[in-house]
Subunit: 158 residues, 2 copies
């Protein structure tokens, strides 16, 4: 674990030691990214134009029935390299320290990230996607259809 | 566990028995809903006009710094009553059986749901929200700011 930056606050415990329930990894992200060389968010990942894929555990392949190429999905993944006990953070791009729940940082009590991505191909248990802001090898927790009727706040306009 | 409906497919194992990592509950949802009396999705929950709240574990209250009333957030919560081993489902509202990853059903290998909701009040570790489609007592895993620049697919229009 790195030393906290100025203004950062660490919890007096590690959430990893307070296990309430277990998650089961269902697959893995294959991406061009490694630590030190990863887009900071999915927007930056999209701008690189570099795609990625999800290698689903074949046990779960039947769960993809009904998904289609071109469709937007939500991918939940487990940021397994992040520390979990920083509750106020001071990342370089913010002007002041901010609470973890006001940030999309991978450092959080439960290191679950989500990305809205487009399916570019479907082949058995392999899902091609347009972009992802995750290291190669990141474990996947879930895939859901992105539904504008529920996932965009009512009345929101670009 | 209920018997499968026609066309449903059960996994030969229970993902709950294949634990890869642990989540730690950070709080609890207080809502008007109980089993048998819960909106089917966040859209329906919004239509009821009934708000809800998140009682965060006070240990994590500092993590809210920077969030503001009126802001949209993503709440990740743990659907702790759902079975986890149904990989093709046939819910009443679909015309044919569909893979779990093509559905927003709470029944999934990792029973993590997400809702985009608006903060209506902030008081210490208590967050008022405009709506939620979760039972009273549902454990919370994470809160993130909803960011249209990353959470809405590029080019999407209502």
């Amino acid at each position: 674990m790195s030393a906290p930056r100025i203004g950062e606050v660490r919890l007096p415990f590690d959430p990893a030691d307070r296990v309430s329930a277990g998650v089961s990894f269902i697959g893995v992200i294959r991406s061009p990214w490694s630590p030190g060389d990863c887009p900071r968010n999915i927007g930056q990942a999209r701008e690189t134009g570099r795609g990625a894929q999800i290698d689903l555990d074949p046990d779960y392949a039947a769960g993809l029935r009904g998904l289609k190429t071109g469709q937007q999905i939500i991918v939940l993944y487990w940021m397994d390299r992040g520390q979990r006990d920083l509750i106020v953070q001071n990342p370089p791009h913010t002007d002041a320290p901010r609470g973890t729940f006001a940030l999309r940082s991978p450092v959080r009590p439960n290191p679950i990230s989500l990305a809205v991505v487009r399916i570019t191909s479907l082949d058995g248990a392999t899902i091609g996607i347009d972009a992802i802001d995750a290291f190669d090898g990141t474990p996947v927790l879930d895939i859901k259809p992105w539904l504008p009727g529920v996932d965009v706040p009512p009345g929101w306009r670009p």
